[in-house]
């Protein structure tokens, strides 16, 4: 790419609610000037950003790319292209592949595939226990040596409390943190569905929110007792949110994430067994939606993460009980959060930048990618007047298992730039 000049865009940052209009000059992948009226010299590629928002690109710490093992659902290639399509320029993979990412060898394999197939940086988490079986500790040091920062058995909790405590005592001393999928299996139904009005109506045993809340509290207590750093994944309930708020006030070293789907949807959306609303933890109630939004605004939730979980159309077309858990999220997160919240004045771009770009990078030990002179170009240009239709053709993910399928929402990601490369231009 030659030098790039973006004219008249309004610049978003995590610490300023106002969008400041300016021209931004990028040379050799670095932002060299942010001023009004930069001259469009010869040789510059000029993009008109009038009316558009120039925002730091997003970073998603909760991604299932299914490779190796389930490449029919997604690969690192299609998954990272989906990320770019959604304005996300860095991802952290979950280790529930087949085989699981539980050793240095598996981490190396992921890096090799990413090196070959991905246009954006790919980070991976590593298992706490071998094969995610909850029995023996995984090869933790080997993975940390290769840069793994997050240890998780995501998809499952570690059921054995002593094993989890030992893991925290052992690895809590290293430069890493734990991430918990919270669920007490004994309290869970056979399938991901909230216990409530809808589980009654559908005739399927539900999973009560306390299944998640008890495990969450358990894991935070263990982390607090051992001194380990802990991150709580995909919180779905009001009491879960309040549990984290309380522990933060107690000074626990805990962070937490909320997903767009737990903010936007609840059990009523399942209607007549619609598997596009089936994920674990399950969608809960409207009251929980409101509490989660409050938690996001208050900072109880440090980050937004999608839990992007692609499946094949065949799998999701099965009946509700047999269909697998999870929906995709990488391509829909920014636009859906803009459409439902930012466009309606519910929260600002600065909150989105903080929770979905800056904080996730900090959590992973990376520098945030602010739009500032001297910084590397890593941004998106977003058109608030545009719109996006999430058609099959639009989506780069192999998974089409999203409630947004074929919906048209306000806002459009028109440009994604990382360093010297324009990764996407619409």
């Amino acid at each position: 790419m030659a030098s790039l000049l973006i004219k008249n865009a309004r610049i978003a940052s995590e610490d300023n609610d106002d969008l400041l209009q300016a021209d931004v000059l990028v040379e050799k992948g670095v932002i060299t000037s942010i001023e009004n009226d930069i001259d469009a010299k010869a040789g510059l590629q000029v993009i008109d950003g009038s009316g558009k928002i120039l925002s730091p690109a997003m970073f998603d710490t909760h991604i299932h790319m299914r490779e190796p093992g389930q490449e029919a659902k997604e690969t690192i290639k299609t998954g990272t292209e989906a990320a770019i399509n959604g304005g996300v320029t860095g991802v952290v993979l979950m280790p529930n592949t087949s085989p699981a990412i539980d050793s240095a060898a598996m981490v190396r394999t992921i890096y090799e595939i990413a090196q070959r197939d991905s246009r954006i940086p790919v980070y991976t988490s590593g298992c706490i226990t071998k094969g995610r079986e909850g029995k023996e500790l995984a090869g933790i040091d080997g993975m940390l040596q290769l840069g793994v920062k997050m240890l998780t058995d995501d998809g499952d909790a570690v059921p054995d409390m002593m094993l989890l405590k030992r893991a925290m005592e052992y690895a809590g001393e290293f430069d890493c943190f734990f991430a918990s999928h919270c669920e007490v299996l004994e309290l869970s139904g056979p399938r991901a569905l909230n216990e409530g009005k809808v589980s009654y109506k559908l005739g399927i045993q539900g999973t009560p929110a306390c299944s998640e809340e008890i495990c969450m509290d358990r894991d935070i207590r263990l982390a607090h007792a051992t001194g380990a750093r802990l991150h709580i994944q995909h919180v779905s309930s009001k009491i879960g949110m309040e549990t984290i708020r309380w522990w933060k006030q107690m000074g626990a070293k805990v962070t937490a994430e909320v997903s767009p789907h737990h903010l936007l949807f609840n059990e009523e959306h399942i209607g007549n067994y619609d598997t596009h609303y089936k994920m674990n933890p399950p969608l809960r109630t409207e009251e929980d939606n409101a509490a989660l939004l409050e938690g996001l605004k208050d900072g109880v939730f440090d980050i937004i993460a999608t839990d992007h979980a692609p499946h094949t159309p065949f799998e999701k077309q099965q009946d509700f009980i047999n269909a697998p858990n999870g929906i995709t999220g990488l391509e829909t997160a920014v636009v859906s959060l803009f459409h439902h919240y930012i466009d309606k004045g519910e929260f600002s771009w600065s909150l989105l930048v903080n929770r979905y770009s800056a904080e996730p990078r900090r959590m992973m030990g990376l520098e945030p990618v602010a739009i500032a002179v001297g910084g590397k170009a890593d941004f998106i240009l977003f058109d608030p007047e545009g719109e996006t239709t999430f058609s099959s053709d639009f989506m780069r993910s192999k998974g089409e298992n999203t409630p947004f399928l074929d919906q048209t929402l306000n806002g459009s990601i028109d440009l994604v730039v990382v360093g010297e490369d324009i990764l996407l231009q619409r």
């Binding site: 004994e186 216990e195 409530g196 009005k197 589980s199 009654y200 109506k201 559908l202 005739g203 399927i204 045993q205 007549n272 067994y273 077309q317 099965q318 009946d319 509700f320 009980i321 047999n322 269909a323």
Partner: protein, 314 residues
């Protein structure tokens, strides 16, 4: 006013329910004649697909279909193992190729009949799916209830037992509510769903429930085998707290309260032997009405199989 499928009671309008109950009456009259058959579904094919063991419901559907002159086939499917969704879908493809007109399906998993209905042109009748729905049972219950209470609105029905796992309790309660019947549930706290409709009263004490003075009591079959974490300590304790024991039966008979049960009954558990000879015990009537109600359903549904797929004229 027609439908392709009958999957639950929830989605039926009150007029549709009343239409079906009205239709069942003339079919029942047929049973007293020497020839019990009408040619209504002559040339149509009915396939039964039961993934869960059943003798009563399966036979009832078979008799109903045969009395309408349909050809009935039983599709043998594995009943013991939990059947995976994949194989159900493959089965649907096979059924589609057989060009059957009606599929009657029972499955231990909620939502399977809906999945089949969406994938086939045949009419699908849900003969029970998991703890979700059993609409023909509800219709035969409504029909039976109306025979003793021609104006059901304002009457009271008490459903007793394992409501939580019971598709019968769900569908029958919903249907009765749609007919204006007041419905209450009685059972152990662990088996009476907390999240059921708010207009259904929930009792956990037998005497309290009887003070509500129901016009009919609907007993459910009680089973112990459900899960590793038991829902109640023992059948003995259940019977003591909720069973229609001899002593309780006397009071029921004195008040002239009707008794219903979807069958098969556990004598000595949810009810004592004497109930079976009680004049106002409607259990046998329910069985007979099941055939009439199912005939009405088969007669009412309209499959999408009849008027297409002819080769275009050259």
């Amino acid at each position: 006013m027609t439908r392709k499928d009958l999957l639950d009671i929830e989605s039926l309008r009150r007029e549709e329910i009343e239409h079906l109950l009205d239709q069942a009456a003339p079919f029942k009259e047929l049973f007293t004649r020497s020839v019990k058959k009408v040619p209504a579904l002559k040339g149509k094919s009915v396939l039964t697909l039961f993934y869960e063991p059943s003798t009563r419901t399966l036979s009832s559907f078979e008799v109903a279909a045969k009395r309408l002159s349909a050809d009935v086939t039983t599709f043998d499917v594995p009943q013991s193992s939990v059947v995976k969704g994949e194989s159900v879908r493959d089965t649907i493809a096979t059924l589609q190729a057989m060009r059957t007109d009606y599929i009657i399906v029972r499955n231990q998993m909620a939502g399977i009949p809906l999945a089949i209905a969406r994938a086939t042109k045949a009419s699908v009748i849900n003969a029970g799916d998991g703890a979700h729905a059993h609409p023909t049972q509800a219709l035969l219950d409504g029909f039976t209830f109306k025979e003793v209470f021609p104006k059901p609105a304002g009457k009271k029905l008490l459903v007793v037992g394992d409501i939580l796992h019971s598709r019968v309790a769900r569908s029958t309660s919903t249907l009765m509510r749609k007919l204006g019947v007041e419905v209450a549930w009685l059972g152990p706290g662990s088996l009476v769903p907390k999240h059921g409709p708010s207009e259904i009263r929930k009792f956990t004490d037998y005497d309290e429930a009887m003070k509500w003075s129901p016009d009919a009591i609907y007993l459910l079959r009680i089973q112990m085998e459900r899960q590793s974490a038991p829902f109640f300590p023992s059948l003995r304790e259940y019977t003591k707290l909720y069973g229609v024991t001899q002593e309780r039966f006397k009071r029921i008979a004195d008040q002239g309260t009707y008794i219903m049960h979807p069958g098969p009954v556990n004598r000595g558990v949810e009810l004592c032997d004497d109930v079976m000879d009680y004049q106002r015990c409607l259990i046998d009537q329910q069985v007979e009405n099941g055939i009439a109600a199912r005939m009405a359903v088969l007669y009412w549904l309209k499959p999408n199989t009849s008027h297409n797929e002819l080769p275009a004229e050259q």
